[in-house]
């Protein structure tokens, strides 16, 4: 039997189209891989029949000549996306048993493009976390292990931890993720895969359980840059049901791929050289600069002066929005209900106390506090002013360069439990990812190499608004030069 679970989407698509194997074979192999990898806890729901049904449709389409862009490709869907009739819980107890009578626009777009669904992917509760440890289903285990002989369980990153682990372990050729402050890019970096967060507004947020509305963006995660381009093309597009959706045609990103950066200036922000970041990370960054120079780009030093304030800004705005977005989980219309004591208010308080986990509660508390009477200006409005400055920093920088290269994360994957006791240490994981989120810019992580312990490290490319193409091209330039081919050894 041909081993299909190690292939890229591009390879699967092309092989299926040329008749090397059937869509059903693809689906069956991935279904088996999913069922055989429960130790990783990557999936919260498995939907093998869905994958098979889509595969059968694809096989029939191949005969009738009615192929769609993703015919034959089964995907994993992050549990933040509403999937019609399939449990959608955002990794939270409070949505236990919730079966939406609707399909998110993005997952619907993928289905219309011919993709099947392998299942729903584990994630940090309401996408709040950087290690997948806040999930009500328990943490996802990274398929990667350190090469130090220890057997420490590592995080795949978060919040799209299930998504990242699934791709890295060959449990899906591609997946959806969402990125509010790094939740696609950081787990991609931790697991040696690629992932792109497009410009805010490219992918509809309709049907994606909201975390922080002004930051949330869906995006693909896959093995290669080309696979990301293929998936993003199918996911993106104008949606009149989302007021923040960009009314623009979807570019043909795959067709526009190259790795030629001639004439491009790549900005290297001095403020991203921060204390405490391992030398290996900075060394990889320097290597990345050389790779891009080799691809024809001219590196230029740039300044993003407000970088150090991005995280605190984010940790005001995102919890504020979340505290309001999560008010609807009240035990009345869906999800869990606890009777509590003291009538309606007692029911609300008991339901929410029982339904939300510690990190979600913490962020609701912070968000409620920073919006409360007397603090709105000092916290929320101050943060929105600083956010305007951060956006302005990027605008100014992009007058001197076309793309920006940085590390994706300040470390490689860490061990489960290592940062749970210190929320700020956990938050610092997203120090390089958050600025682009605050500015709504497209940004992608591609694997660059392994650290001394054999764990993947990623490089981040940030582009101008709407320049996903430039980001993907730079990503491909790195991918070709890095030659990253490491895979976690199967232990699960």
């Amino acid at each position: 039997m041909t081993e299909l679970t190690r292939r890229t989407i591009t390879e699967l698509r092309d092989g299926f189209r040329s008749g090397d194997f059937s869509a059903r074979e693809i689906a069956e192999q991935f279904n088996a891989a999913v069922a055989g990898a429960r130790a990783l806890n990557a999936y919260t729901v498995e939907t093998p029949n869905d994958a098979l049904a889509a595969a059968d449709t694809a096989d029939a389409a191949r005969v009738s000549g009615d192929l769609q862009p993703l015919s034959g490709i089964p995907l994993g869907i992050k549990d933040l996306f509403a999937t019609a009739g399939v449990d959608t819980t955002a990794g939270s107890n409070i949505l236990a048993g919730f079966k939406p009578p609707y399909e998110s626009t993005v997952s619907g777009n993928l289905r219309r493009a011919g993709a099947g669904m392998l299942g729903k992917l584990n994630m940090d509760e309401f996408a709040m976390g950087s290690s997948n440890e806040t999930s009500a289903y328990g943490p996802v285990l990274s398929p990667w292990k350190r090469n130090d002989g220890g057997n420490a369980a590592l995080t795949p990153g978060g919040s799209s931890g299930g998504s990242a682990a699934a791709v890295a372990a060959g449990l899906a050729p591609g997946v959806t993720g969402t990125d509010t402050g790094g939740s696609i890019r950081q787990p991609a970096a931790f697991t040696g895969i690629s992932g792109i967060k497009p410009t805010y507004g490219r992918c509809s947020r309709w049907g994606i359980v909201a975390f922080a509305s002004s930051l949330d963006q869906a995006g693909p995660m896959a093995r290669t840059v080309r696979d990301c381009a293929i998936l993003l093309e199918a996911m993106a597009g104008f949606d009149p049901k989302d007021s923040t959706s960009l009314d623009l045609a979807v570019p043909r990103w795959e067709a526009g791929l190259s790795s030629d950066l001639k004439g491009k200036r790549v900005g290297i922000p001095t403020e991203y050289r921060i204390k405490g970041v391992p030398d290996e990370i900075n060394a990889l960054w320097d290597q990345g600069i050389e790779w891009l120079r080799d691809a024809g780009a001219e590196p230029v030093e740039i300044s993003l002066p407000h970088t150090k304030y991005a995280l605190p800004t984010y940790y005001i705005i995102a919890p504020a929005e979340a505290s309001s977005n999560l008010a609807r989980y009240d035990g009345v219309r869906y999800g869990r209900r606890e009777a509590g004591e003291g009538g309606l208010e007692g029911m609300y308080s008991a339901t929410r106390a029982a339904g939300f986990g510690a990190e979600v509660k913490r962020r609701i508390m912070i968000g409620t506090y920073v919006l409360s009477a007397g603090f709105y200006d000092a916290y929320f409005n101050k943060a929105q002013r600083v956010r305007a400055l951060i956006k302005q920093d990027f605008r100014a920088a992009f007058e001197q360069c076309d793309l920006i290269l940085t590390p994706t994360a300040p470390s490689a994957a860490f061990g489960l439990g290592e940062k749970l006791a210190d929320p700020i240490a956990m938050y610092l994981n997203d120090v390089f990812a958050v600025p682009a989120s605050l500015a709504g810019l497209p940004a992608m992580s591609v694997p660059g190499g392994l650290d001394d312990l054999g764990l993947p490290l990623g490089l981040q490319i940030i582009g101008r608004e709407l320049d996903e193409q430039g980001v993907l091209i730079a990503g491909l330039a790195i991918e070709e030069r890095a030659g990253f081919s490491a895979r976690p050894e199967k232990w699960w």
Partner: protein, 491 residues
């Protein structure tokens, strides 16, 4: 009513007090679909059947604003001569309640759609001296909440989200009113303007319009006192009752040396009193912030021009036009108070009738008839075209004024046009001097004694001869001709 221009004062134990009133009117915007969802707004449907997944605040659902709701609020602002803010924004007002599925109401706190404007009122329709301008502070657009029912189950309340998400305009007045009469005049005028504009049906019984009543009292000339806000009052009468009650209550508190608490109160129409909702106050901190699901609302010239072009003639302008046509101030006022009356009357005028005659006839005859029949002008069995025909028959002498009353009654019964009734029943007025002279001769002959008395100076008998002649002519004689001929014969 006493002199409407005299300041309204309440006499307390320790002297006179002035009452200061501001109103926040919630008016349901007339639209087919809701403010942020595509579900219907109609009243009275089965529970939860006019609810979209957006209204039910399902996870991941997003609001998309309805152009018509924005347009209606802008038109309303224009009708109130208010500033239209080309840049406005929606904010979230956060609180938990079972009728609020999102856990927040989408409203506008920081940047409302409409700014300051004015409503001109008359507290006495017959007295131009009672005119007053009441300031509008702002109008913002927001979502209505759902409905809770408490009497269906012993331990549960039931939630119906049909109303949830229907567009409301909150029209906030300045604290410019000083009496229940002014507040009543303001509400009636505001309601009339909304109905002219077509932005709200003004139906207070169905809750399409309700008011939060802000009341404070002070010694005349003093700064504003502390106010209370009585929520959700749903008739003009109740608003006035709330003001009277609240003013008296506050005066009592103050005169006993106490202080008025700034608080929210609820009106109980059964007991005709307000009571405090203080117990719920402490938990409220609405944590307003800009709704990140919605971008700033920017209105362009074309949108504003369309809003302005679609505005009808408003009550004040119409009233002035009617007065310039020669109608009395009172007639002009009552004819413009309700949009249906004004429209009906405008159609009548369009048929080329004499405006003054028409106004008198509508106010005296038509209103009387509608009252008797207990129908609104919209349901009037006589069309403006038929009424115009009737008025023209009087104006050109075809029928007399008294015959016109008979004809009108028949028109109300049959719905037939005036001309057909006049012809069919032979009611045409005659100016045939031969026939009239013959009757006069006969009557004078039969009443020789009265002729004697008249000629001896008892002038008031003239009316008797007119009456007798008209009676003999079955009312159809032209009264002017009868007068002339009688004068000639009697010398």
């Amino acid at each position: 009513m006493a002199d409407a221009t005299a300041p309204y004062r309440i006499r307390g134990e320790t002297g006179e007090w002035e009452v200061v009133i501001g109103l926040e009117v919630h008016a349901q915007v007339t639209s087919n679909a809701k403010l942020f969802s595509r579900a219907a707004t109609a009243f009275g449907a089965e529970p939860n059947t006019q609810v979209s997944l957006v209204d039910a605040a399902m996870p991941g659902m997003l609001p998309v604003p309805n152009r018509e709701c924005i347009r209606q609020a802008v038109r309303t602002g224009m009708a109130l001569a208010a500033t239209i803010n080309r840049w406005s924004r929606f904010d979230r007002k956060n609180y938990f309640y079972a009728d609020l599925p999102q856990g927040y109401q989408i409203s506008q706190l920081y940047h409302p759609l409409v700014g300051e404007g004015t409503v001109h009122v008359l507290t006495d329709e017959k007295d131009e001296g009672s005119a007053k301008a009441i300031g509008i502070e702002r109008i913002h657009v927001e979502q209505d909440a759902g409905k809770l029912m408490h009497d269906q189950h012993p331990t549960m309340s039931y939630v119906d989200l049909n109303r949830c998400g229907v567009a409301l305009m909150e029209i906030v007045s300045k604290p410019d009113m000083r009496s229940p009469a002014e507040a009543g005049a303001y509400l009636r005028k505001l309601r009339a303007i909304l109905r002219y504009v077509g932005s709200c049906d003004g139906n207070m019984e169905e809750g399409s319009m309700r008011a939060d009543v802000n009341v404070s009292v002070r010694r005349p000339g003093d700064p504003f006192g502390t106010r209370t806000e009585t929520k959700n009052v749903n008739s003009v009468r109740f608003v006035q009752a709330v003001i009277e009650h609240e003013a008296r209550r506050q005066i009592e508190v103050l005169e006993e040396g106490g202080a008025v608490l700034q608080e929210t109160r609820l009106y109980d129409p059964g007991r005709q009193e307000t009571r405090s909702l203080r117990s719920k106050e402490d938990a409220h901190d609405y944590r307003y912030f800009p709704d990140p699901d919605l971008l700033p609302l920017e209105l362009d010239d074309a949108f504003l021009a369309d809003c302005r072009a679609s505005l009808p003639e408003l009550p004040d302008a119409k009233r002035k036009r009617f007065e310039l046509m020669g109608m009395s101030a009172y007639n002009a006022s009552v004819l413009t108070a309700e949009v249906e009356t004004a429209s009906w009357f405008d159609v009548l005028l369009s048929h080329g009738v004499d405006p003054k005659q028409a106004a008198n006839w509508v106010v005296a005859e038509l209103f009387g008839a509608l009252n008797r029949l207990g129908v609104s002008i919209a349901e009037c069995p006589v069309s403006p075209a038929h009424a115009a025909e009737l008025l023209k028959l009087v104006a050109d002498g075809t029928i007399s004024g008294s015959i016109a009353k008979t004809v009108f009654e028949k028109m109300l019964e049959s719905g037939d046009p005036a001309g057909a009734i006049v012809e069919g029943e032979g009611l045409r007025q005659t100016s045939d001097t031969g026939a009239i002279d013959a009757e006069i001769e006969r009557i004078l002959g039969a009443n020789a004694d009265k002729v004697e008395q008249y000629r001896a100076g008892k002038q008031q008998l003239f009316g008797f001869f007119v009456g007798q002649t008209m009676k003999a002519m079955a009312g159809k004689a032209n009264p002017q001709v009868v007068n002339e001929r009688l004068r000639a014969k009697l010398g």
